[in-house]
Amino acid sequence: MVFTSVANFVRSRGPDEFWRKRKIFKMAAHYIGRSRNCYSLAIRSVHRALVFATKGRALKKQDLANLWVTRITAGCEQHDVNYHVFRESLSRSNIMLNRKSLADLACWEPFTFKALTDIAQKRALEEGIAPPKGNKVLFVPKRGSQKKT
């Protein structure tokens, strides 16, 4: 083992408690207030931070996926294609690009993206791919709405 200072060399065979706490203090080094100096407070905030980090790894993936969908939808709207029609048409045309690459193309290579939407439009027209049904109904006659006042 290599020790950079004499103080650590002295501790090297010493109490396990010091090294156990040091691991936590190292992780809490950038906190403010007592939570970086007092062990009982430091361990609390380090535990909390590690839980956040664990959850954050999944959330980051979801956030990015949402951002890609937003960007692809924006790119599709510029060329009058529905997002779902676009994805379905591309997969039927055997263009296997994932959301990340499509979003990159929409953002950085708009001309390439336009070519893809052109392909999608053609394919959708040929195979009759329609957007999923949404709440597009403008007026639904109800019992009271036809009455004369």
Binding site: L67, T70, R71, I72, A74, G75, E77, Q78, A103, A106, C107, P110, F111, F113, L138, S145
Partner: protein, 178 residues
């Protein structure tokens, strides 16, 4: 593309001014549409942290159309902060006080409550009628399509058109039309 034009970015990061005619439009459906332009969600460069939202001028907010009996039923809550300071204002009442308020609140509540929301709202310009200051109107370069067709009123049809409209029955002579 040629090597010189490889990184050409015409006005990609420019703010665009849109105009939207709110006459006969549902404010809550319009809010979802306007939000997209205000936040920049319609651009492929969108990112929550990049400030790419556009300006939207909304005209004729006095002529919005609320669905069904929402004018009577929808209540807007306000609290002064003092005890007993709560008040509920019905939509038609609020619309009488300020014809832009219903659409403004609809857009405001359609967006997530974060620090950016107030700044995004600053880019929304609402006018109760068609009178927009010339210095705002000169920026406009795009019109947002209305989400539903504007119905034509009966008294806007000419006498000729009304007469020629196909009729199912003729009212009897002694029938009293109210």
């Amino acid at each position: 593309m040629s090597a010189l034009k490889r990184v050409q970015q015409w006005a990609t990061f420019a703010r665009i001014w849109h105009v939207y005619d709110a006459a006969w439009q549902n404010p809550f459906h319009s809010a979802k549409l306007l939000k997209k332009y205000l936040m920049g969600l319609h651009k492929p460069i969108y990112h929550p942290l990049n400030d790419c939202g556009d300006h939207v001028i909304v005209i004729n907010t006095g002529d919005i159309a609320l669905p069904e009996d929402e004018w009577k039923k929808r209540a807007y809550f306000h609290h002064t902060g003092y005890p007993g300071g709560a008040s509920w204002t019905v939509a038609w009442e609020l619309h009488d006080k300020d014809p832009t308020m219903i659409l403004k609140k609809a857009v405001y509540s359609s967006m997530d409550g974060n620090l950016q929301r107030r700044y995004t709202m600053e880019r929304l310009h609402l006018f109760p009628d068609g009178k927009v200051p010339a210095d705002l109107m000169k920026n406009v370069s795009n019109q947002i399509q209305q989400i539903r067709p504007v119905p034509k009123r009966l008294d806007h049809y000419s006498e000729q058109e009304r007469k020629e409209f196909p009729k199912l029955i003729d009212y009897p002579k002694d029938y009293i039309l109210r």
